[in-house]
Amino acid sequence: MTFFEDQLKEGVFQICYCKNCNDTIWPPKEICHKCHNRTDWKKSTNLGKIMEFSKRESTYFGLIEIDDGIRVLGDILSSSIPEIGQSVRMSVSFNSKPHYSFLVENN
């Protein structure tokens, strides 16, 4: 398991970045694709915005933008129809693959 996956398992979404280039590296890599120095890690704020959404059976899912323009697909937990641009809070886990889910704030 990679550091990123290991941290997801602990419930932490780590953002990979390069101190040198001040660039976010997504998906995470040990080496920066520009300067080829070792990359560093910082914890996500776990805050994001809904870019697009749909629904499968009774569960909403969507494309969410979190810190530094990183976008991921995940479940959206909302009691009402989500809206584009709505603020969400992320929680993560890992069980053979990442799982991202998003709770609509002030839900």
Binding site: P27, P28, E52, S54, R56, F61, I70, K97
Partner: protein, 368 residues
């Protein structure tokens, strides 16, 4: 650079059942070889196999099975656009002079590992293509006021075209209302809006211009090629766009010295209904806002200009074979051999094949 032409084609029927990859490969390659004049196995000096199957050394296995001892043989994998990538590689071998005649065979079994890109961690546990398909569809509806009916017309049209394609996995007609009332996979995708993974194989023989006339009375020249990869992660796409298709189309048109309006017939990559609307817009045949109306007009006037063999939705999608079958359809159209599917007086045709939510696209222009 040598000019390159298509001189032979062969296919198997596509099927929802599991298929034996080696048997299917041999069947389509054998059909292809039988379609050319003056065949001599010593003339083939390249054998390329496009597939997502995990079998090893298929280029050499196919060569031995056919009694060919080529200079060049290997496999090519690029998810859903493996087929056109293999043809373009063969083109490069021939145009550079490394090869004179190349057999390109694509194959897939219905359950294959190419349907999910595990590497893409940004998809989380929502790995299946239905999730990005839903995002693209919802976004198209939101941005361009595309209606459920317009999306259903893409599928009804392509199923209708597939009825006249003997290699399609299904020849069942589907009306607009059947599509609209088909099972909802998500709020934005119905089952009949989705292409289906199939088993099947298709093969094509390419030769240098100098040799082409020996093997075919109607060689079809590849006059334009454009390719672009923008990323591997779906989530880096700009929703509502397929940037890789737009860039690849521009490159292909420049190489072929044509404009979009000169295209008489096109096979486009309708992985989901919305993909056809997006593709014809990025190819410059219409705009996103008018794409639904464009397809409705084709359907109402029985104009088969887009996806005459039924596209991926109508014919089925054996990933490694799809791009080759698309190319065979355009070749047959330009040769006037498409029977009931024939577009009258087709002179310039286009193939659009893409992978992983349009993160990469391959486009070819053919001319008779």
């Amino acid at each position: 650079m040598n000019k390159v032409a298509i001189v032979g084609t062969g296919q198997t029927k596509f099927s929802k059942d599991e298929g034996d990859v080696e048997k299917l490969l041999f069947e389509s390659a054998s059909n292809c070889i039988q379609s050319v004049n003056n065949y001599d196995s010593n003339d083939i000096d390249g054998v390329l196999v496009s597939t997502n199957n995990n079998s090893k050394y298929l280029g050499a296995i196919l060569s031995e099975t056919l009694g060919i001892r080529p200079k060049i043989s290997h496999s090519i994998e690029h998810l859903c656009s493996s087929g056109t990538n293999a043809i373009i590689s063969a083109y490069a071998y021939i145009s550079s002079g490394l090869s004179d005649m190349v057999l390109v065979s694509g194959v897939e079994s219905a359950t294959n590992p190419g349907q999910v890109l595990e590497w893409d961690r940004s998809r989380g546990n929502l790995e299946h293509p239905i999730y990005w398909g839903s995002m693209l569809t919802k976004s198209h509806k939101r941005k361009f006021q595309t209606t459920e009916e317009e999306l259903a017309i893409v599928s009804a049209k392509n199923h209708k075209h597939a009825m006249d394609n003997p290699f399609a996995y299904s020849n069942e007609p589907r009306t607009i209302s059947e599509v609209m009332n088909s099972k909802q996979i998500t709020d934005d995708l119905r089952i009949l809006d989705c292409s289906r993974s199939c088993s099947g194989s298709s093969s094509i023989l390419l030769a240098s211009e100098e040799k082409a006339k020996i093997f075919s009375d109607q060689p079809i020249e590849i006059t334009g090629i454009g390719q672009k990869t923008t990323s591997a992660s779906f989530t880096k796409n700009i929703l509502g766009e397929i940037e890789s298709t737009r860039i690849a189309a521009d490159l292909a048109y420049k190489m072929a010295k044509i404009e979009a309006k000169q295209i008489d017939v096109a096979e486009v990559h309708d992985a989901f209904s919305v993909c056809e609307l997006m593709a014809i817009s990025e190819l410059g045949l219409t705009s996103n806002e008018k794409s639904g109306e464009f397809v409705r007009d084709l359907f109402n006037t029985e104009n088969r200009m887009i996806n005459p063999r039924g596209g991926l939705i109508g014919a089925g999608h054996p990933l490694g074979a799809t791009g080759i079958s698309q190319t065979i359809e355009i070749t047959n159209q330009l040769q006037g051999k498409s029977d009931k599917r024939q577009i009258s007086n087709a002179k310039i045709g286009l193939i659009h094949n893409m992978s992983a939510a349009g993160t990469s696209s391959s486009i070819m222009v053919l001319k008779n």
